[in-house]
Assembly symmetry: C2
Homo-oligomer: 227 residues x 2
């Protein structure tokens, strides 16, 4: 049995990759990384290093054209500042986070389904977790969404491919705990929305990540601009 | 209210486009055409002519890279003969039609969802119909699949976009009847899997199309290699 892992090079999807390798063996795992027009290539660089570290097949796609009409702040073309602070604080003043990329995760999972069918993979690993789904910050990270897209992919693939979301009921701190047990090379991962030399330490995803390590009594091994 | 129509330039999706224009007005309709690496550009040429005929905004995407690992017979890169004869006959000897493009329609609908959110469209029109879903010939054309992907898109878009499949319970002959009432320019459409000057009249989709007109006492207005 083979697994395809949706793999950004961030903390969550790298742990998801480690989990799939632990279960299926590295020769039965394919990692899929997708550009969507984000401001930097730090994630893609991280995904390359981590795929090499694990020795898994690594497929890369560029789907940025699909987002050419989007005003999302993560997109390079838009030249919009990425908000600082936690998602909950941001959602006090907006209905949708400016960092929500329209239906990105659904698109990525559908792309993964097409490739999974072609590569003989029966499962797709998807690293969405409960913290991102809370307050509907990222609606395409919720358990309900994951269940629905799993159903769509299962039916639309002729009952051949399923989506597994191992973290949909977990918080980011739980993911770090699990990944630490699996010896995930977190020093190679990249989560920050900015593309500076070091992670900014201020955007929503940096703050979440730092807290997740702290909750485990650990220090995040990557370098931040401010300590 | 605006609608985005998944629009191949074929008979079904052109009728779906006509239906959306009839309901929302042409200035509130965006047509989306997607290449997946098919053997010819006849569909794309047809979609351009029809979008001009109706005067609607027309977006084009090339997603062929996603199918680079697929062995589907519709893909140019594979140089495989496209089977002749009806789907039911073909399915007596194979589990999956060689013309099933892996999770193509799910991928197209997810791309449509991303663009719909960016363009302010609240509905996506999808022209799948019961004949293509019969015998699970194309599992991503069934009512069950359409319901599931609608649920995934609705949830994953933050309850902003829905999928409408006006033909999921209709047969192709019913679509021709409806489209004839709507004065759809069927002479501009292209359905044939081959890319010759005229439609082949032998592949599964040509046979279905010819029958659908005959069932309405009509003659298909396009030219076939054999009459």
């Amino acid at each position: 049995m083979k697994a395809l892992v949706l793999f950004s090079g961030g903390l969550d999807s790298t742990t998801s990759l480690a989990l799939a390798i632990d279960k299926y063996g590295k020769d039965n795992v394919v990692a899929l990384s997708i550009s969507y027009g984000q401001k930097h290539i730090k994630e893609i660089e991280a995904s390359n290093k981590i795929a090499s570290f694990y020795g898994v097949e690594h497929i890369y796609l560029d789907l940025s054209k699909i987002f050419e009409f989007s005003d999302c702040s993560l997109l390079e073309k838009n030249h919009i500042d990425i908000p600082e602070g936690e998602y909950a604080k941001q959602l006090e003043s907006v209905d949708t986070l400016s960092t929500y990329v329209p239906f990105r995760n659904g698109l990525f999972l559908s792309s993964a389904a097409a490739i999974a069918l072609s590569k003989g993979c029966e499962v797709i690993y998807y690293g969405a977790h409960a913290d991102d789904a809370a307050l509907n910050a990222y609606p395409d990270c919720s358990k309900e969404f994951t269940d629905a897209i799993n159903q769509a992919i299962y039916l639309g693939s002729g009952n051949k491919v399923k989506v597994v979301g191992p973290f949909v009921n977990m918080r980011k701190a739980d993911i770090v705990k699990l990944g630490t047990d699996l010896k995930v090379p977190y020093e190679l991962t990249w989560s920050c929305y900015e593309g500076h030399d070091k992670a900014c330490g201020k955007c929503g995803t940096c703050l979440d990540r730092i807290k997740a390590f702290e909750a485990n009594g650990l220090k995040d091994p990557i370098k931040y601009e401010e300590n």
